[in-house]
Amino acid sequence: MAGRKLLIENVHIPGIETYDVYRKNGGYASVEKALKKMTPEEVVEEVKKSGLRGRGGAGFPTGMKWSFLAKPEGVPRYLVCNADESEPGTFKDRYLMEKIPHLLIEGMITSSYALGANVSYIYIRGEFMYILHILEKAIAEARANGMLGKNIMGSGYDLELVVAPGGGAYICGEETALLESLEGKRGNPRMKPPFPAVKGLWGCPTVVNNVETIAAVVPIVNNGGEEYAKIGIERSTGTKLISASGNLVRPGVYELEMGVSVEEFIYGDDYCRGIANGKLLKACIPGGSSVPILPAHLVTKTANGDNRLMTYESLADGGFASGSMLGSGGFIVFDEDQCIVRNTYTFARFYAHESCGQCSPCREGTGWMEKVLHRLENGHGTMEDITLLEEINKKIEGNTICPLGDAAAWPVAAAIRHFREEFEWHVTHPAEAQIRNYGLIQPRVEEIKAL
């Protein structure tokens, strides 16, 4: 049975994208409750109790992030919503904003109130220009109904919401690059510290949160943080939007209670309904292109044979040796006909294209990996190239200002870790590799456990 939905339950109601229908279906209740009955501190407290963790990929506790916000006298504070959804495999925020835009607007109002922000921004990737217009329409409706502007619902609280587009740059999903871009500059990440909570937008204290994180504040305030925390397992509370793509019968966006098994998610009737065209599962990237790829035998079970669950902890079980990460929930599934070398190459090319060029290890390393993978994929590689990739990896990881370097290194490292024989086959059978794919690999569970 499909679990509870807290965010997208109502997306199928006709007209839910309009203020009136959204309001009639219980919308803006969290604004009413927060502004009329709660202090900003009480809202922060509920978010802390909920155990909500950042839904953009890092999984940092939202309540804690909020409590770090500096509050110097006479300095404005800002809430910035990160709608720069660009992680390959991830398209959940687009779905949420397109289908039920007022949920994000409501979350922005309630969250801005909690943080004491009087102007908040939604930074959306430029390719989603049509959604920018949807959001601006929703903002205009909310304003016309007294949910934005001066003295909202007679509470004395003022808020303006502004939507700003990017221009096509993955790096702007990194919060400090996003702030640079919002200031009208190139998206070069900033050195941290100082963190945005102290010096963010225009040097003022700023919280940057993902779309889904801000949307989740709505049910948390409505039902209480404790109720929210009852859903899920361990430190993975609440529901999560998963963007499922690749060779699935039914790809798309799903909201699930944390703790659904990966097997249920891939094969269950309520979810993806299995691998397309009756093929076998070869591999899965569970959390967006930056997280380690898992071979079939480590997708539904951990190395210890436990059922793998859709939670932060279970997907990471086994560390990088045999686990991965929940990340952004960009769940990419590969069938038996897919070439892991080619896929790894497209990701390497992606990161080389998207590196801002600020740090040498990333700027040079991502381009180098792309070239090496290109020749491996095209039958011109050598065994030394595989070792070379591992060495370049180690030199990028941890040596850059922002996590793009790690994000570029991890997928390559994981692909070689789990699919080394397929890489080697590309070297030993260069001609054959051009006309057919390697197919499934043999499980190496014992070997991986020993790592």
């Binding site: 990017g166 009208g184 690749g246 060779n247 292109s289 497209t346 080389a352």
Partner: protein
């Protein structure tokens, strides 16, 4: 593989551009969204407005943006050249940006790109002889569940097949005749 970002501003024509009154009004309304002294924040959205109007982002157009924002032209060039959506050289009336990253690749974007190349008789990066279409590739457009995907004039075309590509090309050709 060429890195699209390395595209340099096109310096062939330096004839100054004057924006129309409507464009100025739209640009001013974007600038007004930001606090006083923070007008530069409007730059990316202004570049989108400029490119929508002219089809690409020329040096004279960027100079005019710098004038409006009261900043140095280099501050506009450096922004426009960082973000991949801005075409710094002339393009066709319709630019197809076809996603080719992993999730699109595994469901056939390579075949779609090859088909468009054949159908339009252009290579990636090229423009058709009649100036109608430019074919570019894009990295992840954020529509992985509806792959393969291309974007043209901010519109997403999803679940691409060869037949669908034919329809899209035909529709744009017809639209351009009407206009």
């Amino acid at each position: 593989m060429p890195n699209m970002k390395i595209e340099s501003p096109n310096t062939q024509d330096s004839t100054p551009i004057v924006f129309s009154a409507e464009m100025i009004t739209e640009i001013k309304s974007v600038i007004a969204m930001f606090p006083e002294g923070r007008e530069k924040s409007a730059i990316i959205r202004i570049l989108h407005i400029v490119q929508t109007h002219y089809g690409w982002t020329s040096v004279p157009a960027m100079n005019a943006v710098a004038d409006i924002l009261n900043i140095q032209p280099i501050e506009v060039y450096e922004v426009a050249s960082f973000y991949t959506m801005f075409h710094l050289n002339p393009v066709g009336n319709y630019v197809f940006e076809v996603c080719r990253t992993g999730p699109c690749m595994i469901v056939g974007s390579d075949d779609i790109i090859a088909y468009i190349e054949e159908k339009l008789n252009v290579k990636v990066g090229g423009t058709t002889a009649d100036g109608m279409f430019t074919l570019k590739t894009a990295e992840c457009l954020g529509a992985c569940g509806y792959a393969p995907v291309l974007q043209c004039k901010y519109k997403f075309h999803e679940h691409l097949t060869k037949e669908k590509v034919d329809e899209i090309i035909e529709a744009y050709r017809t639209a351009s005749l009407v206009n």
